[in-house]
Amino acid sequence: MNKLFSPAKTEILFMGNEAIARGALEAGVSVATGYPGTPSSEVIESLSEVARERNLYVEWSTNEKVALEVAAAASFAGLRSMCVMKQNGVNVASDFLLHLASSGTRGGIVLVTCEDPGALSSVNEGESRYFARMLEIPLLEPANIQEAKDLTKWAFELSEKIRNIVILRSVTRMSHASGNVICGKLPEKFRTARFISDGSFMDPMKGPVVSTPVVIKHSLQQKKMQKAAELFEKSPFNSYSGSRRPELLIITSSACFLYSREAINMLGLQRRVGILKLSCTWPLPAKLLNKYLRLTDKIMIVEEVLPFLEENIKVAAMGMLKDTGIKTFYGKMDKTLPSVGELNPDLVAAALSKVIKVKAKSLPASYVREIQKVATLIPPREQTFCPGCPHRASFWNINTALKLDGREGIVCGDIGCYAMASLWPAIGFHTVRTLHSMGSGTGLASGFAKLEDFGLNKPVMAVCGDSTFYHAVVPALINAQHNKADITFIVMDNAGTAMTGFQPHPGLNLSAMGEAVPAVDIAKICEAMGAKVAISDPFDLEETSKILTSFMAERGSLKVLIMRQICALSPEKKGKKKYQMKVNEELCLGEKCGCNRLCTRIFRCPALTWDRTKKKALIDEVICAGCGVCYSICPQKAIMKTEAEG
């Protein structure tokens, strides 16, 4: 039995994202959509596994804006729906979100955003709480795994009470944390869809769903926010723990609540520091704040990443001075807490020690000295492309073509594992020189190609992954073609949204629910735009290099090369070696070769190591994926490949 079906009252270990999925099921969600992105992907993934049994439609949409539109349609038809994305997905969806929040919604609809303070698996640590304020949408932030489930369920009820979308914000340390959850009841009845739109223009349940007349709808939206604030005042999801007269009051939300509680316990400050945990964080419940701000004059606000609560609580406190008196605030704005990166119990404890003047128990000095000695023994372990990763071969090809071309061409990068080609030390041979949002590499390349008249005369390339192509590259590529931008555009097609766990995308003939669907072909789209298109296998170094070199020599138009090879971690490939690799020690000349250890210094595959005693290359058979590419790079032909058995 799938654990999302666990009967009511069962206590079970759920990942935060599974708890969110279970909460949605308990709320009777009918439609769930999203675009994969760490740390959000498991919400939709786990719902897709139970979709049939729970009469649920689940979709991986092309991008977050489309995902929100698909989910909103279900809400307009009276169903409950959910749309899930990572933090920067909210930026993508925000244009529609602005209009949706002003038109209002019908069936309960929740936008779940799972954010990544510290950018553990992102190229930004942006946050979307400010969207809630800017677009006037209620915001909820669960503070433990049980609450992730319970608050998700309540978010649907709130959305239906105010007839507007609600944002539920999680973070990596909540979404990817796991904990005990006591399950609630799963509904037995399912709703049917009905879209009524022939009523009066002003009827929110029967009229057309539009954001006009704007000023009147805007005023209605603000009334909804007032209603949400009233509900937040009484919500059991906001709670205080601590003494009646604490010296310091911590106001916190999300994972920072757990860090704060741990820091208080570590320092033995249970009687001296109180915690007001807010899980309803916009609009702020003013009466509740008024009550707790009176407890003490010192307030510390603990949150990730930007000082969202801090700013808003300070503004609210200004209006309550008569009741609460003057406060001293500690937080990010006065640098009591770091203003960037993620927090943890140690950082909160350090901040507490500054404000309260206590010291944490430290390790014995002799132990610390031993630690310092041992630390010098530990080599760093950087991220690399996996053994057998097609991207290593693709960038080898690109780098070779750039070197042969000799004009120091520019490569614009994009979002996926291949973004690591922009990292130092070299992964992907330092090929990628720009890295921004999804699809931006192609837009930037289109721009670089137009700088020739200003003196920038270099070949321009852009790389993107297959899922990224559909998400946001298509408009930039059309732009390049229409404006005659001379670029070589490369799709690293590894047959899935690999970085986030092989979710299907429009290029595959399989949907999130496992149904056969038509695949939308990248090559045909590019041909229809008028681009010259070629397809190659990046493991075939000779052929791929030839195409790239000829594309770079051809001036004045858009060229597209699709490098097609399945990800080494994909379920079809994982654990299956195509080739058995072996270094012929007689052929390998080691350090005397003159190649300057091309295989182990430059190619950089974790499975291709260096035998320090023999001073020759060595295959680590436990790690080797058997892709066979290193066979092609050895100038001595000392790396042998034979077809693997079975």
Binding site: S121, R173, N180, L258, E370, L377, R381, C386
Partner: protein
């Protein structure tokens, strides 16, 4: 039946290199403990962070409360390392004089070591660091026995078997079997049980 913990909470860190089955090990271990009534909080990250890099799962095991998904520095009680240098990396941040370390001796060289920019410590240096920084430590070649069983990734289960033998946590063969019956597909159960048994015999 729930027995009381040697300490509450027990802070366990499982570490290794991306692809070694760290997450699976943390789930199985946590599941075994939740099944007998403990409150477990796991903190971990996946995604790009696991591509060839160091990975870590933090487990907080308690009879009473939900804890932070990140263990404070210097406060690990048990470190289980699927790779020896990763044991050291965790030890210098989360170790304390009372910590116990169970480590797999099979090395996975970081890229910087393969290129020759860094050196990897010898097993003797690693053992001597364990002696100085831990109250108890065990170094076993879990990967070799896993390879003999047919798949190097089984080393994570071998390590859980060995952990059961240390008796540091209230886990045993029965609770392992119950957990894999619930969460592993039937084709993987027998081999996992064998890997667990082999692990218990390695200490």
């Amino acid at each position: 039946m729930k027995v009381s913990l040697a300490k509450d909470p027990m802070n366990v860190i499982i570490t290794g290199v991306g692809g070694q089955g760290n997450v699976m090990a943390s789930r199985v271990l946590a599941g075994m403990l939740v099944n007998v009534g403990y409150i477990v909080t796991i903190g971990e990250t996946f995604g790009m962070s696991q591509r060839g890099g160091s990975v870590m799962s933090h487990l907080r095991i308690s009879s009473t409360s939900v804890l932070s998904p990140q263990i404070p520095q210097g406060r690990a009680d048990i470190i289980i390392a699927l790779e020896p240098v990763e044991a050291l990396r965790v030890l210098i941040k989360y170790g304390n004089p009372a910590v116990a370390v169970l480590a797999n001796s099979r090395m996975v060289y970081p890229m910087g070591v393969i290129t020759g920019d860094f050196t990897y410590p010898s097993l003797d240096e690693i053992k001597s660091a364990f002696e100085k920084l831990t109250a108890h430590n065990w170094l076993i070649d879990a990967t070799s026995v896993a390879v003999d069983l047919g798949n190097p990734v089984l080393s994570n289960i071998v390590m859980i078997g060995a952990l059961a033998k240390t008796a540091l946590l209230p886990i045993d063969r029965r609770s392992f079997k119950k957990e894999i019956m619930r969460n592993l597909s039937s084709d993987k159960r027998q081999i996992s049980l064998t890997a667990f048994d082999v692990g218990t015999k390695m200490l």
